[in-house]
């Protein structure tokens, strides 16, 4: 049977406040460590980069070039300096979604708190860029739109954005996880290494990459719209 509970590896108690080290937290640390180590490798190899790229340098430049073109095509030019954050968001979500291809591993995005945390960062970026680029006009145009009496309604509409962003990715990844797990239960033992492979390809790699892309594009669009002079 599919187990809906996220495995808990340990509990740390600080002053009576319980901190649960769940599978999601551990996977998040592992993915962050992978990304940080990759970034350090790139940083140390940056000195040896040449005018004509070869091998490793080619791959790194291709990634950065692709994402810069993506930022130019989809984003407001005023927020181009936030590109690093969005690239980090994209790679983190992509790696997190793809961990589901290993049988027995649970993608950390199939647990609601992680997508919610990522979507809340997007929410704060929206407010930050709106207030930085448009100031009082942004607050007036978003929260006090026809009249200050509409403040609660506007606040609700603004808060529903991170919720819908996070639920979208959570539902997609959890649905894929449940389907793949049930498929493992259905197949007989000798076919267990062959039959679920197409499902892994669709639900973990294709949908995972699509969800990472959509999360990044929607965050970029929201932040760009908040910063746009209207």
């Amino acid at each position: 049977m599919f187990d809906a509970n996220v495995p808990v590896h340990g509990v740390i108690t600080i002053n009576g406040f319980e901190l649960w080290i769940t599978n999601t937290v551990v996977m998040g640390w592992v993915i962050s460590a992978i990304l940080i180590i990759f970034a350090l490798i790139v940083r140390f190899k940056l000195k040896n980069f040449k005018e004509r790229p070869t091998g490793f340098q080619n791959a790194v430049e291709m990634m950065v070039d692709a994402f810069e073109g993506f930022m130019k095509a989809n984003g407001n030019p005023a927020i181009a300096w936030m590109g690093g954050w969005f690239f980090t968001l994209f790679t983190f979500i992509l790696l997190a979604n793809i961990t589901g291809i290993f049988p027995g591993m649970r993608p950390p995005t199939a647990d609601w708190p992680l997508p919610l945390a990522l979507a809340l960062t997007t929410f704060f970026f929206i407010q930050f860029s709106g207030i930085r680029y448009r100031g009082w006009k942004y607050v007036k145009g978003t929260y006090l739109n026809p009249h200050w009496l509409f403040l609660p309604v506007n606040l609700l509409g603004e808060l529903s954005r991170p919720i819908s962003l996070s639920f979208r990715m959570f539902g997609n990844i959890l649905g894929g996880l449940i389907l793949v797990t049930l498929m493992y239960q259905l197949t007989p033992f000798f076919a267990r290494f062959v039959l679920p492979i197409p499902l892994h390809l669709i639900f973990d790699i294709a949908f995972g990459a699509l969800q990472a892309f959509i999360f990044t594009v929607l965050s970029l669009t929201f932040v760009g719209l908040a910063a746009a002079e209207s």
């Binding site: 095509a73 989809n74 639920f167 979208r168 959570f170 539902g171 997609n172 699509l210 959509i214």
Partner: protein, 96 residues
């Protein structure tokens, strides 16, 4: 007589199925988006890249309501919000 909790579980499964029924309309909306995108690509093949990007974003937006239904079904099946109040009710009822 069967155990009263069995009735609650059966109702919960039916409720989950009803929550999943909104997939019908979600799928029809997504099919409309995809059809419109293919039409515009056929009319203007050089604009394929931006149209595909916008189509995926639109598909994700249309998918949201379906995902909400799915999340509600998962909550009803695995988090079981109906069981707790029912058990409390059984506790205070005499003769159960």
């Amino acid at each position: 007589m069967q155990h009263p909790l069995a009735f609650v579980l059966a109702i919960a499964h039916i409720a989950a199925v009803i929550a999943l029924l909104n997939g019908i309309l979600t799928t029809m909306g997504q099919a409309k988006i995809a059809a419109a995108a293919i039409e515009s690509i056929a009319r203007q093949p050089e604009a394929r890249g931006p149209i595909a990007t916008n189509m995926f974003v639109g598909l994700a937006m249309a998918e949201t309501s379906g995902i909400y239904g799915f999340v509600i079904a998962i909550l009803i099946l695995f988090a079981r919000p109906l069981i707790g109040p029912f058990v409390d009710y059984l506790m205070i009822m005499p003769g159960m």
